[in-house]
């Protein structure tokens, strides 16, 4: 009975994190972007500095009519937001936030699990792009696919470097094997992983697939109401997952200068929050990369860097043994 209760509590905690953290990131984005652009951002909803703006947005989305275009492939059009969103919920289950068993479910091949499931999420965008029967959406879907194919490889390679260093592919095992000098050792891999992850989430400066000023939000052009909100939510859940994963793989997760035993989860959250801030910062400060620049960056910069990181990891690993 305690076993069942334990599982239920863990799943509930993951679910609450899945609902709350993306909203926190979204609200932070509103405020940080506004202040970086010399504005105030939302100030009225909820009273104090517009903290309830996203709740109000959610209510607005829920009230809107759910339109399916007449020419669309109805079932796939309606299924796509779920396919885009659910993988991130699954990934959150496997991310450890503290030492010991402070993880939703410890997965033996954790690194491969998270990368595989995150890749499935992109299928949602492709399904949406195709099923909308809209040329902008189709272009968005095509760009999404091209981007995923280009950036999946450096991401896997960078994660493989950490797996080599730790001698395990389990996320919990990686954190158990972590030492502080891994951060400078794996820093190149970390940058590659984070950049490739941004591209997989289609966040600026890699937002060519949604490019609102030229293909009108790409795959999501035809979506309204709650389904559109689900796509937005999946973007922010993706930010949380990417920052959490980068924290766990490259920044030592719950390890910190002090208090790692009791306050480990706080270190994880702090590092994740700093990375999420960087994600928002990049959106405000970098122009969008063109499609050929996107591909060039992946194939001629990120993949060689990731391979060099793997070589370095191998050499150091052999030397210290």
């Amino acid at each position: 009975m305690t076993g069942t209760l334990d599982v239920v509590v863990r799943l509930l905690a993951v679910f609450v994190a899945f609902l709350v953290l993306p909203l926190v990131v979204g609200q932070t984005e509103h405020k940080v972007m506004a202040h970086m652009q010399g504005r105030l951002g939302p100030m009225y909803a909820g009273g104090f500095h517009g903290w309830a703006q996203l709740v109000a947005d959610g209510v607005k989305f829920a009230q809107k009519e759910d339109v399916v275009p007449a020419g669309a492939d109805r079932r796939i059009f309606q299924l796509a937001p779920a396919v885009a969103l659910l993988p991130y919920l699954l990934v959150l289950v496997a991310i450890p936030i503290g030492p010991g068993n402070q993880v939703g479910q410890s997965v033996d091949a954790g690194i491969f699990f998270v990368l595989a499931v995150m890749g499935v999420g992109v299928l949602g965008s492709m399904m949406a792009g195709w099923a909308s029967a809209n040329k902008f959406s189709l272009l968005g879907g095509l760009r999404t696919a091209a981007q995923l194919l280009a950036y999946e490889l450096p991401m896997v390679l960078a994660a493989a470097s950490v797996a080599m260093a730790a001698g395990t592919v389990s996320l919990v095992g990686v954190l158990d094997a972590f030492h502080w000098w891994w951060v400078p050792w794996q820093i190149v891999g970390g940058l590659v992983f984070f950049t490739a992850g941004l591209a997989e989430l289609q966040r600026p400066p890699f937002d060519m697939p949604v490019a609102d000023s030229e293909i009108i939000f790409g795959a999501y052009t035809e979506y309204t109401g709650l389904r559109f909100a689900l796509f937005l939510l999946s973007e922010y859940a993706g930010i949380v997952v990417l920052c959490g994963l980068t924290t766990v793989l490259f920044l030592g997760g719950w390890h910190g200068p002090f208090g790692a035993d009791g306050l480990g989860w706080l270190w994880t959250l702090l590092k994740t929050a700093v990375l999420a801030f960087v994600v928002i910062w990049l959106r405000v400060s970098y122009p969008r990369l063109r499609e050929d620049q996107l591909q060039k960056l992946a194939w001629t910069v990120l993949i060689p860097l990731a391979l060099a990181q793997i070589a370095l990891t191998g050499v150091v690993k052999v030397v210290i043994q």
């Binding site: 020419g71 669309a72 492939d73 796939i76 997965v107 033996d108 091949a109 491969f112 699990f113 990368l115 595989a116 499931v117 890749g119 499935v120 992109v122 299928l123 492709m126 399904m127 792009g129 195709w130 099923a131 029967a133 189709l138 879907g141 095509l142 696919a145 091209a146 995923l148 194919l149 280009a150 999946e152 490889l153 896997v156 390679l157 493989a160 470097s161 797996a163 080599m164 395990t168 592919v169 389990s170 063109r290 499609e291 050929d292 591909q295 060039k296 992946a298 194939w299 993949i303 391979l307 793997i310 070589a311 990891t313 191998g314 690993k317």
Partner: protein, 216 residues
């Protein structure tokens, strides 16, 4: 000669065995729909269901690592590549009755023959083995890795050489076309994106190879 595994028989199946069977039937059904549906993109999406079902079967056999790699490579790369190709050809929404090569019966014969050969080989090889689900996990990443690099190193290396040859071949083919067409502008969006497509899965396989080489 033993006809079947000793120990647990085929009667009185456990829950895992029933789940295995049900997932297998669902996978087979999805695969059948994938080859018989008239809607091209639906076929690709049913393929996702079939490949995902296979991953679940691996999970039920405790081979966790194989299951996630299956999802990563097949669903994450191969199907995305397939969908990319379909979208490039403007895959229409709804039925495409002209997308039939007329080789239905020949294809069926080849499929049945190859399925029969595979089933026969697998049954002949493994009918006396039994996976103990309650004991030590027999398909964990560690065990799979040890098997791969202790007993199957030569096939593994031969496969990686094959994939490397495919990768080099893809690069050579795409280069050749570029040279003949003259200097394609660096800003030509089709240029860099084009070799990116076919090199994707082969590249990822080659990459994992170099990683495992380093890990040894």
């Amino acid at each position: 000669m033993t006809l079947a595994a000793a120990g647990p028989g085929f009667l009185s199946p456990t829950g895992v065995e029933i789940a295995f069977l049900l997932v297998g039937i669902a996978t087979l059904g999805a695969a059948l729909v994938a080859v018989t549906t008239k809607q091209l993109v639906h076929a690709a999406l049913w393929l996702v269901v079939a490949l995902g079902g296979l991953a679940v079967e691996y999970l039920l056999l405790t081979a966790e690592f194989i299951a996630w790699v299956q999802v990563l490579i097949y669903v994450g790369s191969v199907v995305v590549l397939l969908l990319f190709g379909l979208m490039l050809t403007k895959a229409p929404i709804g039925r495409s009755p002209d997308a039939d090569s007329g080789n239905r019966w020949a294809a069926l014969a080849v499929a049945v023959a190859s399925a029969a050969a595979l089933v026969w080989v697998v049954v002949d090889a493994f009918r006396t083995t039994w996976i103990d689900l309650d004991g030590v996990v027999q398909g964990s990443t560690k065990v799979s890795g040890q098997y791969l690099f202790r007993h199957w190193v030569l096939p593994f290396e031969a496969l990686s050489v094959l994939l490397l040859a495919a990768l080099v071949g893809a690069i050579v083919l795409s280069r050749h076309k570029d040279g003949r067409a003259g200097a394609a502008g660096p800003a030509d969006p089709a240029g860099p994106a084009d070799p990116a497509g076919p090199a994707g899965p082969a590249g990822s396989a080659g990459g994992s190879d170099s990683r495992q080489n380093g890990a040894r």
